[in-house]
Amino acid sequence: MVDMRVRIGEIELKNPVMPGSGTMGEGLARVMDLNRIGAIVTKTITPDKREGCVPPRMVEYKDGSLMAIGIPCKGPDHYIEEILPHYRAYATPVVCSVSAPTVEAFGQLAAKLSVPGVSVIEANISCPNLEQDGKAFGMDAEASARVVRRIKESTDRPVWAKLTPNVTDIAAIAQAVEAAGADAITCANGMLGMAVDVENFQPALGNITGGMTGPCMRPIILRMAWQVARAVKIPIIGSGGMATARDALEYLMVGCSAVQIGTINFVRPTAMLEVIDGVEAFCRRKGLRAARELTGAMVPRREFKEQQVA
């Protein structure tokens, strides 16, 4: 019997597998038992009502997709009254993803959403910062830290900072949010990309640019998770292109305490269950008593030494 429980700061999860924000919804409860996953992560809530991006919203590639959805949202009251009740039936903790255009609005939104049934606030800092010409908060260490500090002041819930991969030095951003009091880091969001509909001489996405996600992104985001793991002491939740248990094991071994399964949920709706079962089977096969032993379990290869060649 493998102990699948993992601890993310003060929160204990029954296993390390959860959905990425925006990749699950109430519909998934018609397909599988949501009590089986480690956490329920809800789609990002914004203070205002938003319709989202003009279609087309998606471009498909062989091993991933470019999406520009634009966080359609009916606001925090609708979330509390209409969305959260769907998840009351489950013992699984709910992680509420939030986003806002200003530091102050992040704080007010986190306070408003710290209601019974919400266990964690995940700050989606990949959205444009209206106080900095629309540059994403997550692209700037100081702006990221200010958001986390403000949310920490306004809620007693653990705060996870979801980083954007669209930066030069993700470790520096990770250290900034750790210093600001983040309880954990989610690494990472989609990478900015674009595509052209050449037949019609138009951008392929209504929003022109979008977030590239899916299996093709895994090596890049995995590298970032490894860099973040070396730079901070708080737990890391890996999020980038995982489709199988083997993929999740990579993230755990480079230092993540848990993983978010994202885009593949759209293709194989029970992918999270396969990952949970696969991680457990791997632990059994390797004689590990607990899944948490996988975190940072990657060992260095033998270094090159000249005398061994001689």
Binding site: M24, L28, P56, S65
Partner: protein, 277 residues
């Protein structure tokens, strides 16, 4: 839910199932008819719903996402699902290569069904091209409930008309119009629909597959005060309301325009709320 609906009390009514292919034959030069052995899916499916098909990868054709396909026929007695599809892109190209005995991963049933059972006595359905596949199961279900159906089928030429025999076998009246015969113009179709409403008691309008036919039925529906529904298409990601990729514009009840997910709020919508494209 109407009287013809199958009651589904499973805690997990939507499922991923591997279904053996019974047949996958050409209907004409661009359409194929896929029949799957799908006991579970066939039992739960309702007219207007769709399945999300995991099309195989062949050579350069590697469809990452599933492809939504409306149900053409639900054969509960034999546990079969049938689909009628036009080969247009990567997904339908690899779907067309499936041979009998091979298996296809299907996910569903998904989406909102047609809601006609308690609302009408005589359904007038107008379908263009592959839109016919989506409306055909309504004719069969309506026939079993003693509701009359008249299907107006529109196509490029007589050889592109499909399923006339199948629709007649459900008890539906069939009127075909084609571009090559010059009978498919909006004015000609309008005359037929007006006749069915005024003289034959047509009291419910259904359409799928054509922008101009949608506009026509919206106009006639308003003029005569007749309800109706439209089934819409859109490229989809997840098919179950999670990704928000498949939105289209709709008239909001309080005025203005809003986006709705074709997979979750649809694919069947109130005909007057749909915005033509």
């Amino acid at each position: 839910m109407g009287s013809g609906a199958h009651v589904n009390d499973s805690p997990f009514p939507v499922a991923e199932t591997l279904c053996p292919v019974v047949a996958n034959d050409w209907v004409n030069d661009s359409y194929k008819h896929l029949i799957l052995d799908a006991a579970h899916g066939a039992i739960h499916a309702e007219p207007g719903q769709f399945f999300h098909l995991l099309c195989p990868s062949i050579g350069e054709n590697v469809p990452f996402y599933r492809r939504p396909m409306s149900i053409y026929r639900i054969d509960r007695a034999q546990g079969r699902l049938e689909f009628l599809y036009k080969i247009v892109g990567r997904g339908t190209t690899t779907l067309a290569a499936l041979a009998p005995g091979e298996k296809l991963n299907i996910f569903g049933p998904l989406g909102r069904r047609f809601d006609f059972e308690t609302r009408c006595r005589h359904i007038v359905q107008v379908a263009r091209g592959v839109g016919l596949a989506t409306l055909a199961p309504v004719a069969e279900a309506a026939g079993q409930l003693g509701i009359r159906t008249t299907a107006i089928l529109s196509a490029r030429s007589p050889k592109h008309l499909m399923s006339i025999e199948y629709l007649r076998s459900t008890g539906a009246g069939v009127i075909s119009v084609t571009d090559s015969e010059g009978t498919s113009g909006v004015e000609a179709v309008e005359d037929i629909v007006r006749g069915l409403i005024e003289k034959e008691g047509g009291d419910f309008l259904l359409t799928c597959g054509s922008n101009r036919l949608l506009q026509l039925l919206q106009r006639l529906g308003r003029e005569y005060g007749i309800a109706g529904e439209v089934a819409l298409e859109q490229h989809m990601g997840c098919g179950i309301g999670m990704c928000f990729a498949c939105v289209r514009e709709f008239r909001a009840p309080g005025g203005g325009i809003t986006y709705r997910r074709v997979c979750w709020e649809g694919p069947v919508f109130d005909i007057q709320e749909a915005v033509s494209w």
